[in-house]
């Protein structure tokens, strides 16, 4: 595939997760280009997080004549028109994280529902008698938000000793989450746990500390500041929790999958990647490898990709 050109279509770059994703892509694909595995692997980001803009971006990639497009989609369905056009033009489309439903595309999906459900399961293990939960959601109207939230609610159904007494939208932005939590806290009864969508744990902890409440179990989202806060709390009073999110490096997995498809390998349309979970025991190791202010990450190699593909066959 040394003459093939691959493009990354990304819809958002405004948070640390996406920045880490772009960096992983850059690192791995640069090496791949240098090794002559592919001819080019260019990354494109739209200025605003909008399906329409990303659709235009994909159309431009078609015009540019890329052989494959690796895609983190702003919407699972709104890009189907553009993706279909790309497929029709003979382009391989591999979507990851934000996947698309268009059947001709490949999907590297994260089980967001499971990511939500397992948070409640973890809490059930820690607090068998249950209690009240606060849910921090993402951006209303976005697929990921809806999925994780659905998973959390499924978890609460499974473990009926828990009750969600408050739910706020943090828009996946630290400051918004902190503000929303601070606003709802006064009206909440005692809460035993905070279920999140990733990265909002630190803000929630700040708000709860400011209100002088007892610290509930906050599910973390693999951000370095969260891990650090967790470590400090653990060292101080043995605080225990779990951290879960997807690794931004999943973009590199998508890259290798695209490369495999271009190479003529048989690849199933639907692949799954596990999310990256950090338990109490892994905390120190994870913190050591996570850059200051960054996100816990793993990058994938060609071998990893082959394993994932083989596993799905």
């Amino acid at each position: 595939t040394s003459d093939k050109r691959i493009a990354l279509s990304n819809n958002y770059a405004g948070n640390s997760w996406r920045q880490a994703m772009l960096q992983s892509w850059d690192k791995v694909t640069k090496q791949a280009v240098a090794d002559g595995v592919v001819a080019a692997a260019d990354a494109f980001t739209t200025a605003e997080n909008q399906a329409t803009e990303q659709a235009a971006q994909i159309q431009n990639m078609i015009l540019e004549g890329y052989d494959a497009i690796v895609l983190n989609a702003a919407s699972p369905t709104a890009l189907n028109g553009a993706v279909k056009e790309a497929c029709d033009a003979g382009i391989v489309v591999v979507s990851f994280d934000g996947i698309v439903t268009e059947p001709c595309a490949y999907r590297i999906a994260v089980d967001f529902k499971e990511m939500g459900r397992m948070q409640v399961e973890y809490l059930a293990g820690r607090l068998p008698e249950g209690g009240n939960l606060l849910e921090i959601r993402g951006l209303a109207g976005v697929f990921v938000d809806d999925e994780i939230s659905a998973g959390i609610h499924a978890g609460v159904e499974q473990f009926p000793q828990f009750k969600i007494v408050g739910s706020v939208h943090g828009d996946w932005a630290q400051d918004v989450a902190q503000k929303a939590v601070a606003g709802i806290l006064p009206s909440l009864p005692d809460i035993v746990g905070v279920v999140t969508q990733g990265g909002d744990g630190y803000g929630a902890a700040q708000a709860i500390a400011a209100a002088g409440r007892e610290m509930p179990i906050i599910i973390m989202g693999n951000r370095q500041d969260e891990l650090k806060w967790w470590k400090e709390a653990r060292d101080a009073n043995g605080y225990e929790t779990v951290s879960v999110s997807i690794a931004p490096g999943v973009s590199t997995l998508a890259f290798w999958v695209a490369q495999q498809v271009l190479d003529g390998q048989k690849v199933p349309q639907d692949l799954t990647v596990p999310f990256l979970q950090i338990n109490q025991a892994d905390l120190d190791a994870a913190l050591a490898t996570t850059p200051e202010g960054g996100v816990a990450n793993v990058e994938y190699t060609l071998e990893d990709a082959k394993k994932v593909i083989a596993g799905a066959m």
Binding site: T46, A47, A140
Partner: protein, 307 residues
């Protein structure tokens, strides 16, 4: 002589940009290429026209984007499942727009606040209709938006049509002239015995109508909708009106210019992605190109003043 050459500037900047795009990406110079470059401009052009009707009466609409998103959600759900109810909702939305225009004038409310408030309302309704992305367009819209007329791509046909119809409506018809008069000097229109409240309602109603068309055509292209799908259109549409030679005050607008402005903005994005900049700077480059296009406007204007 003392005729307005304001349409010249948008045309020139579009031509310049198009030349640049063809230069970096010659493959774009084809039926297929032009269609890809411009088809997403059609809903933007319609939204820009909607915004233009509001700017024409000296107001600004901060809800264009959420309104188009709302319409898209309705189009992708109700209009497919229960076409009658769907149409009724859309007509109702246009009437709401008209009523807002009347309210804004009758009670002398600042349009920017009312439309800001409405942007929350439309956004909330959209989230209620579609909590997660989904839906599908009615077949006829999909067919219309993907049809391939001979010789000239659909995007161009549609743009020309939009420009021509709105030009006739706004610049040529007696009614359009009256509406522009409201923007130019509402006091004297009122003194001449017109009911300015009605006229404002009409301008807003037209904006609503074109917003509805924008949302419907958008779903035709994207094949599904979500509550955030067109948030960007608010600023894009304002920028389009200004790029097209419009001004915020005095009822000075140009429908043809607005459509060209929308095309220019769409093209600017494509031009950038053909340049393959580092991802760090891709966002900044969008700003830079906006500045360049507007600076070109200034240079052209200078040239004219010197001549």
């Amino acid at each position: 002589m003392r005729r307005d050459p304001r349409i010249l500037l948008p045309v020139l900047s579009l031509a310049l940009l198009l030349a640049a795009v063809f230069w970096v990406q010659p493959r774009a110079m084809s039926y297929f290429g032009i269609n890809l470059l411009f088809n997403l401009a059609v809903p933007i052009a319609l939204a820009t026209i909607a915004q233009m009707f509001i700017i024409m009466v000296e107001d600004v609409d901060l809800s264009t984007g959420t309104f188009v998103s709302f319409v898209a959600c309705v189009t992708a759900t109700f209009l497919v499942e229960t076409p009658l109810l769907g149409s009724a909702i859309l007509v109702g939305a246009i009437l709401v727009y008209a009523a807002l225009g009347a309210l804004i004038h009758a009670r002398q409310l600042p349009a920017i606040v009312v439309t800001l408030g409405m942007s929350f309302v439309w956004g909330g309704l959209a989230v209620l209709i579609l909590p997660a992305p989904g839906g599908a367009p009615p077949d006829w819209i999909r067919w219309l938006m993907t049809s391939k007329p001979p010789l000239v791509p659909m995007a161009i046909v549609a743009s020309v049509l939009i420009a021509a119809v709105t030009h006739l409506l706004v610049m040529r018809s007696a009614f359009g002239t009256l509406l522009r008069g409201v923007g130019g000097n509402a006091r004297s229109v009122a003194r001449a015995g017109w009911n300015v409240t009605w006229l404002k309602a009409a301008a807003y109603g037209l904006a609503g109508l074109f917003g509805v068309l924008a949302g419907m055509s958008l779903v035709g292209l994207t094949t599904s909708a979500d509550a955030n799908i067109a948030l960007r259109y608010t600023l894009l549409a304002i920028a389009g009106v200004i790029l097209g030679g419009g001004e915020f005050t005095g009822g000075r607008v140009s429908p043809v210019g607005a459509v060209i402005g929308a095309l220019t903005l769409t093209l600017a994005g494509s031009f950038l992605s053909f340049l393959k900049l580092s991802p760090d700077w891709q966002i900044g480059a969008q700003g830079a190109i906006l500045i360049l296009v507007l600076a070109a406007r200034l240079i052209l204007r200078r040239g004219r003043a010197a001549a």
